[in-house]
């Protein structure tokens, strides 16, 4: 049985020092595209947290089955199919049972299928050899870390577009990358507080 301290350590580690957006540089496409205002960013972040945690929880038992049957080279294919299927299913379920929530962030759901971090979390738990609880905690931490990054970035970009007089070439994506770089630098300050593969 995995101890609470190990789970907590993985959670903190994937949220701060090994932040999947600012340290592993994944999930950039939607990060840059949706971070133009804070409301959209919050919606996208929430949707990503939901989908990532859910799909990681589903992919773990599937990967155990693949290992048992000896075909773990097919993990990429099977993961992608389960991700696409769960996103589709989640969209339908939300449309039916939580219509207000669906109108709030339902449009982002199809985009999440190709969000790198959904697949990346699944590939990482394969690499790190996690158990089920560790996978869920890791997925939660990573996706919250991504949501954290996008909300931070959108807050700064929103303000910057109003008060700053940027050169024409820097407006839009270029300045977003500069801001991300500064955020990434700041997050390096969290190094050492937790490890993603704690020694047990």
């Amino acid at each position: 049985m995995v101890s609470i301290t190990v789970l907590f350590e993985i959670f903190i580690a994937s949220l701060l020092p090994f932040n999947i957006a600012l340290a592993s540089i994944l999930g950039m496409c939607p990060l840059i595209a949706i971070s133009t205002n804070v409301t959209n960013a919050k919606g996208m972040g929430l949707a990503v947290v939901l989908v990532t945690t859910l799909t990681a929880a589903i992919n773990w038992p599937i990967y155990e089955f693949l290992k048992w049957s000896g075909t773990d080279t097919l993990d990429l294919l099977v993961f992608m199919i389960t991700i696409a299927a769960s996103v589709q299913f989640l969209e339908l379920a939300m449309q039916k049972f939580l219509p207000s929530l669906y109108t709030a962030f339902g449009i982002y759901l199809p985009l999440i299928t190709v969000n790198c971090i959904v697949l990346a979390v699944s590939l990482f738990f394969v690499n790190y050899d996690y158990g089920f609880l560790e996978t869920v905690v890791f997925a939660l931490g990573s996706s919250l870390g991504w949501a954290f990054a996008i909300v931070l970035l959108s807050g700064i970009r929103e303000k910057l577009s109003v008060i700053a007089d940027l050169p024409r070439g820097l407006k839009g994506k270029a300045i977003a990358f500069v801001l991300l770089g500064i955020l990434a630098l700041a997050f390096i300050g969290f190094s050492g507080i937790a490890r993603v593969d704690p020694i047990q």
């Binding site: 340290a23 540089i25 696409a84 070439g169 839009g172 390096i188």
Partner: protein, 208 residues
């Protein structure tokens, strides 16, 4: 010679090739495919391997999707693209591990992330599903080459500044203190923003 060049402008394959590399250059115009590129583009070797990987996978999957484009039911379009791209990525990963195990070791999980690379999916959705095989292949090749070009440019600067070498061949001497920031995440972000800025000013393509 001049007649040949003028006639070239009317060839469809030439237009497709040119648009893919310059006008529709994914990194600048639509900032696609950055996902996998930034983290591994800190050494030129890795950049070349990733670039070749993305180009190959895009070409093969675009060609295959163009081949079966009339058979795909519209509801399962996305799933189809994913199955095709995943299959080619897995095969590419197998060959990478077999032929160049040290590069495969360095790229690690990022080879698998070619599947979610927006360029591969984007080209399939935007071009391959509506055009015959030969044009789709050329378009995919152009997009892949544009991506590879930007990746190699970035990794050249990053490797030179953070290690003093290019392709593991030391260029800067003993007295060079490594600017290690360019080997890690923030450096990648800064370099690509400068790149986009420079390209935008040069091509006069601004975003308001």
């Amino acid at each position: 010679m001049k007649k040949f060049l003028i006639r070239l402008n009317y060839q469809k394959w030439y237009n497709v090739l040119r648009d893919g590399i310059a006008r529709n250059n994914p990194i600048v115009v639509t900032v696609l495919g950055i996902c996998s590129s930034l983290a591994v583009a800190n050494m030129v070797e890795n950049a070349i391997a990733m670039g070749i990987g993305v180009t190959l996978v895009t070409m093969l999957s675009s060609a295959f999707i163009a081949l079966i484009r009339n058979l795909i039911p519209s509801q399962v379009r996305m799933v189809t693209y994913m199955v095709v791209i995943s299959t080619f990525t897995i095969v590419f990963e197998m060959f990478l591990k077999a032929l160049t195990p040290d590069i495969a070791e360095r790229l690690g999980a990022y080879v698998g992330l070619i599947i979610t690379n927006c360029i591969v999916m984007g080209r399939a959705e935007a071009f391959a599903v509506k055009n015959p095989v030969r044009y789709s292949t050329i378009d995919a090749f152009a997009s892949g080459m544009g991506y590879t070009f930007v990746l190699i440019m970035m990794s050249l600067i990053r490797e030179l500044l953070s290690n003093g070498s290019i392709l593991n061949f030391q260029f800067l001497g003993e007295n060079w203190i490594n600017w290690t920031i360019f080997a890690i995440a923030p450096g990648g972000f800064f370099i690509i923003s400068l790149f986009i800025w420079g390209l935008r000013v040069w091509l006069k393509y601004y975003e308001e």
